[in-house]
């Protein structure tokens, strides 16, 4: 027979951050991580 799993729906992290007014901070953090990732790879690190 077919088996089922119920799913729970929650606010996404992004929604939570936006509601708390922290999304800009998060976007900045991610942009910073992106930049440092690019710097690392452009220096030849694998």
């Amino acid at each position: 027979s077919v088996m089922q799993i119920p799913l729970r729906k929650v606010k996404t992290l992004k929604q939570t951050m936006m509601e708390a007014g922290n999304y800009e901070e998060l976007a900045y953090q991610r942009a910073y991580a992106h930049k440092s990732f690019l710097q690392k790879t452009s220096m030849g690190s694998n």
Binding site: S1, V2, M3, Q4, I5, P6, L7, R8, K9, V10, K11, T12, L13, K14, Q15, T16, M18, E19, A20, G21, Y23, E24, L26, A27, Q29, R30, A33, H34, F37, L38
Partner: protein
């Protein structure tokens, strides 16, 4: 650029639907994202160091307390934009919906990257895409269930509940589809590349005009993200069509009071038209006491080696019941 792939294909910031699985004997329970955009199962390990905050804040698998644990030990890493999820492979009994995959290999994570996983409300990820994209070629749980003949047919299906007042967020069906959750007919389209659940999309329509995917394009059905994403230039056209304005990082917002007058957007797949109304493709978020409405469309250009790809996430799957058939390598959609 792996960061872009992270943003798009593994954007767990936007993941919204979780379920519970158990691992080991006696059962240890974990909350996971059932993710059709990846193919590995990983959960935090009891062996993660105390300074790994993400790991410490979630349920951790303790192999020492499971009589069915078998050592594998291969090291693995999954690269995300903001770092790597690192860990090692173990084998144990993994149960979903009361059916169990014996000696299922999975990753015990000992290091998890970034803010996303610290703040995450889920413990781990259960990948449900093809084994072809599984890191280390580790067999995904559903494929083990098929091989061990634990499911009556090699099909699983997602129903996501769009009623915000309901306790039940949705339902996954293993081994077939649930006729209570969709309206016939279900229209199938073949998988064009075994990796993601990838298929051909014919076009994207605004009213009767083409506003995206002009000559046909490739798309994937991805339950690991909540938005609909596509090539920037084409998505900009859609945003313009619906009257959205840029917010940040490829995202757009619309005026909430314009919702009743906004147009429908349709996706044509295998000759069938799937229409989204404004309340389907707009997400309403209350912040600092006021509502803002985020467009469910997001533009992103993937690197040339990945090529143009549209990602149909929860915004689409919530409106259209989606079935995934390993037996005939096809994806099916029906009205939820």
């Amino acid at each position: 650029d792996p960061n872009e792939i992270d943003e798009l294909l593994r954007n767990y910031m936007d993941a919204q639907y979780f379920g519970v699985i158990s691992i080991g004997t006696p059962a240890q329970n974990f909350t996971v994202i059932f993710d059709t955009g990846s193919s590995n199962l990983w959960i935090p390990s009891k062996k993660c160091p105390f300074y790994d905050i993400a790991c410490m804040l979630h349920h951790r698998y303790n192999s020492g307390k499971s009589s069915t644990y078998k050592e594998d030990g291969r090291k693995m890493a999954i690269q995300y934009g903001t770092g790597s999820m690192k860990g090692f492979i173990s084998k144990d009994t993994v149960c979903v919906a009361g059916i169990c995959a014996e000696e299922q290999p999975f990753a015990e994570a000992t290091s998890e990257p970034g803010l996303t996983f610290i703040a995450a409300k889920f413990d781990g990820i259960l990948g449900m895409a093809y084994p072809e994209i599984a890191v280390l070629g580790v067999k995904p749980v559903f494929n083990t269930l098929i091989d061990q003949k634990k499911v009556p047919s090699p099909v699983f299906a997602f129903w996501l509940n769009r009623n915000p007042d309901s306790e039940l967020g949705g339902e996954i069906t293993f081994g077939g589809m649930d006729p209570k959750r969709y309206i016939e007919p279900i229209t199938w389209t073949p998988v064009t590349r075994k990796g993601y659940w990838q298929f051909k999309m014919d076009k994207v329509l605004g009213g009767s005009s083409s506003i995206g995917c002009p000559n046909g394009c490739q798309a994937i059905a991805d339950t690991g993200t909540s938005l609909i994403a596509g090539p920037k230039a084409q998505v900009e056209q859609i945003q313009k069509f619906i009257g959205a304005e840029p917010l940040m990082k490829g995202e757009y917002m619309v005026q909430c009071d314009k919702l009743p007058t906004m147009p429908d957007v349709s996706f044509v797949i295998a000759g069938q038209t799937y229409t989204l109304k404004p309340h389907d493709y707009v997400m309403n978020i209350t912040t600092a006491g006021k509502s803002i409405c985020i467009s469910g469309f997001m533009g992103i250009d993937l690197p040339p080696r990945v090529g143009e790809l549209w990602i149909l996430g929860d915004v689409f799957i919530g409106r259209y019941y989606t079935a995934f058939d390993f037996g005939q390598d096809r994806v099916g959609f029906a009205q939820a």
